[in-house]
Amino acid sequence: MSSTSVLLERTGPAVAEEAPQVPTVDDGSGRPSRYVDSKSQFRLTNAPSASERWFLLGSLMAQLRYVPFTDIEVLLGVHDSELVMMLHGERPITRKYAERWERVQEMLTQLATVLRPEGTSKWLHVGVPDLNGATPIDAISRGKLRLVLDVTSSYLDPSYK
């Protein structure tokens, strides 16, 4: 008999069996708060924007679920391994990324008015006259996300067919 027994657990959806310990505190202020263990002392921090950034990242990942990870790296401006760490809460999502991702979100929202999510991947690799024939993914990789946003904004024009 192996010392590692499958018996120790059972297959079931009830609750997570390795419950992470998330110390929280009610400091009486009514604000969301969190204890962070720092140098053996509890420190009180407020981080409401972290939730909003995870929300943004999660929403982007859903909209980009048909896009290759190599293109997601370019769109989000973050290396894949770093992105995974952000998704897992192992690396903070800094303001720099959040601001860029809000523009990508805007681009995808505008794109969604004319394209299903499955078409995003192909659209990224098609030359666009307004980008001098460059593809959106090439333009974004050269730091021209704003120009690509102008292109997707034009899709909202009622005269666009």
Binding site: V6, L7, T11, V15, A19, W54
Partner: protein, 262 residues
């Protein structure tokens, strides 16, 4: 793979199967404690599964320096249900699960689970699985006044003391559990015993095939194949555990014949 005697590929018209559950565990993704981190997964499921009331984790607290500190919190399980209410998805910081109350075939079940794992991979990128399990729970109703009738339904190894004429009438509590080792990382765990719900008494045959092998969680569909293997192992054990005369009362029909009617 555990081997049991071969059996016909049949579907039981009066199947005692009450629930089928798959759970894939992975290293914790702590942001999933928060609803905001679930949004990507939820958006990707829309159209198939819809958000249901989450199973909010329990917490314990104690006073530290005059303040109430929450020291142990079981994370919430986020739940999603299809329109029929028969398929339930669970997502927590360290697992994803799928439960069916209307199981018809492992082909449909594994396809649904594969689709869920693909969504999980695309939006949350979990690391390799720490445990993969498939569990089928059967309930056989029996006459509480004659518990030893279980000996006419199940092999004596499974019915246990409940099938004994002398012991069964005096039995107040009985549960059995054994583990059949497949390899160092994989085993079939079988749990049996009677449970009472109101006036009805059922004998539970709970079969849980699981592995600790670190399968990648991705869009390859490989875990679907693992589930099909586990399902075959469980089904083979089920056929072995039931006596032929009793099995005949469950209305076995060849699977091909049943599928041609649907």
């Amino acid at each position: 793979m555990l081997t049991f005697p071969s059996h016909e590929d049949v579907v039981f018209e009066h199947a005692p199967l009450t629930s089928v559950i798959c759970q894939v565990k992975f290293p914790p993704i702590y942001p999933l404690i928060s609803a905001s981190a679930v949004v990507g997964f939820q958006e990707s499921l829309s159209g198939t599964y819809f958000a249901a009331d989450p199973d909010v984790g329990a917490s314990t607290a104690q006073m530290v320096n005059g303040k109430v500190v929450n020291i142990g919190q079981t994370p919430t399980t986020w739940r999603f249900i299809d329109t029929s209410g028969n398929w339930i998805v669970g997502l927590s910081v360290d697992f994803i699960s799928l439960e069916s109350k209307a199981y018809t075939s492992i082909a449909e079940f594994s396809q649904r689970m594969t689709d869920l794992l693909t969504v999980l991979y695309r939006v949350l990128r979990p690391r390799d699985a720490t445990r993969v399990g498939l569990r089928k729970i059967n309930a056989f109703e029996f006459d509480d006044a004659h518990p030893s009738e279980m000996s006419t339904m199940l092999r004596p190894e499974i019915a246990g003391v409940l099938g004994d004429d002398i012991l069964a009438p005096a039995l107040t509590n009985y549960a059995s559990q054994f583990e059949l080792r497949d390899d160092d990382d994989t085993a079939l765990v079988v749990r049996t015993g009677p449970i009472r719900a109101g006036d009805r008494v059922s004998f539970i045959l709970d079969m849980d095939y699981a592995t600790l092998r670190p399968y990648p969680i991705d869009d390859s569909g490989n875990l679907g194949e693992v589930l099909r293997e586990f399902s075959e192992g469980i089904t083979s054990f089920f056929h072995w555990a039931l006596l032929d005369e009793f099995k005949a009362t469950l209305g076995p029909r060849p699977r091909v014949e049943m599928e041609s009617h649907t």
